[in-house]
Symmetry: C3
């Protein structure tokens, strides 16, 4: 059993983040909230999203798994205007999921979750971390686009740097520790990541969000940030591109 | 002879409606105003538009027929800004139609109307009718899109319903009689219509317009609404898709 | 040596004009400012742009030539918001040009200028001229589009006229001398020009700019206007299409 109401802006924020990685998702539901763990088809990135029941206007659920096609959920979101409350309900008899916005009802078949894996979230101890306003990252990414397929993240005791190097062009965003929310780097670390994954995720994060970036040399990067006024939490891992010498 | 001035917004509203159905049109002109009757190439829908001379800022005409290419008229409308007055004139000697907006003159050949038919407007007695704010219909249509090629209209003594059913998805807008401007239904009626025609028309109707929908089971639907502050009147018929059992 | 700061809006205004004609440019730099002379690949139009050092927020340069790819400069401009100051610097050792906006650094290889010609600016005595607000020209061009490939400019002692004639359609913008900033025409002159060149240039000129048009029959048209609050000056020549009888 699952029945809940959520602000359209809140649902939109969650869907925007998840759909940078996958289209069909499996939510694990229980009375405390929803959890999603997913890996992209190429196994380059992983997301773990926890949405507490306080992110909802109302919430009532037993333990269950719900499979949804996010492309269809996006179409539902287009029917809402800011301020709308979207009600959601699982129809267990018909195997359907029902959205309601005002006098509109939109129902869709649940997606079969039996073949969806449960990825294991890696336990990584990364030496360095910085907390950065996402707006800064978004500017850096716009500068990097069309220069190279990869983006370099570098953390130094004094600064955090995002850069892209092509044959004829460079782009670089350098943030001194005074421009960061926090910076903790014992000694310089540096890794290279696929620009498209990093860019799609960062662009989907709402302006004003503070993102914690955990980094080490030639390790995955871990990004942690809140959504839904802190009632939802995202942990995102992106595999590095190991440079051969 | 035809010479008139009209507000650009008014002309745009009329052209938007007609061009959902046809590109080349024949207007019958007389001192009282303009009338257009047209059927789409596939003979699925018909429109009858009457524009009284009070919809114009100035108007002077003898009886005549004028053929216009609406794609070109749309290009003229793009030259105007809200508040502009567009003057229109027939140049009978040169077989041209002349638009003027401020110091811009745009003239175009009249379209030959000799091969354009004069469709007969059907006289239908439909059992049920509802008057609905077009904004509601527009929301319902947005919900229905990409689910099926057909849309179902259902009128009941208590409610009016617009719905779309696909293999895996449903969308439904249900308006209780209290949410309608009026509802008069002796007993439930229901018909199925091509979504694209219905959608194109409804989207072209200006927000805030009240639309009268006349409906019966397996009959054409008739939509009636005003434009140009009530000085123009549209009657639109759309043929049903008869469901075979 | 070249090092300067400029408002992003000012740089954008200059780039928009030049890039209607060419993508790769050569600027001649000296302590007084920058000069660009360029002909389009088809040798139909020529531009001469002079940017005085007062157009910059700060400016310091020796005599030099700098080759830039404007498509890349446009990408840099997209990183700026109105009010941003863009700093520019030539790195002579690496053969690079460096843009900085806030904490973003974007560097690119200089373009080789050795094969770029130095077009000679023609000295033409054209009999007639008019000074016109560019907004009027922009409206006239929008009316002319999709009617013909050529646009006619006509100056008369009483009016200036821009028109386009197709097989079935005409468009005309007629500006009486009272609607112009100034008009000096001894006797009627008239020439025909390629619409795409004229249109691309006129659309790139900022609204509110006064453009001086110098015209004669079957001669190039010369357009002169200021940018950057008058600290930059553009002279643009466009070859006529000579009508054969």
């Amino acid at each position: 059993m699952f029945k809940a109401e959520i602000k359209s802006e809140t649902l939109k924020g969650l869907v925007n983040i998840i759909s940078t990685l996958i289209d069909e998702v499996k939510f694990a539901i229980d009375p405390e909230g929803m959890t999603l763990k997913a890996v992209d088809p190429a196994h380059v990135a992983m997301i773990e999203l926890k949405v507490g029941n306080k992110a909802f206007e109302s919430y009532s659920a037993n333990s269950a798994e719900i499979g949804l096609d996010l492309d269809k959920v996006k179409m539902v979101l287009k029917l809402a205007v800011p301020g709308d409350i979207i009600s959601m309900e699982q129809d267990e008899n018909k195997g359907r999921f029902i959205f309601r916005i005002g006098n509109i009802t939109r129902s869709m078949n649940l997606v079969d979750t039996s073949s969806m894996s449960d990825p294991k979230v890696p336990q990584l101890e990364l030496s360095s971390n910085a907390v950065i306003l996402v707006d800064q990252l978004q500017r850096g990414i716009r500068a990097a686009e069309s220069i190279s397929d990869h983006i370099s993240l570098r953390a130094d005791p004094e600064f955090f740097e995002l850069s892209c190097e092509g044959d004829t062009d460079d782009a670089r965003l350098r943030l001194e520790s005074s421009e960061l929310e926090s910076l903790s780097v014992p000694s310089e670390v540096h890794s290279l990541f696929p620009l498209d994954y990093f860019s799609n995720l960062v662009k989907a994060i709402p302006a004003g969000t503070k993102v914690r970036i955990e980094l080490d040399s030639d390790y995955p990067v871990k990004l942690v940030f809140g959504l839904a006024n802190g009632e939802a939490n995202v942990v995102y891992f992106l595999a590095p591109r190991i440079e051969s010498d």
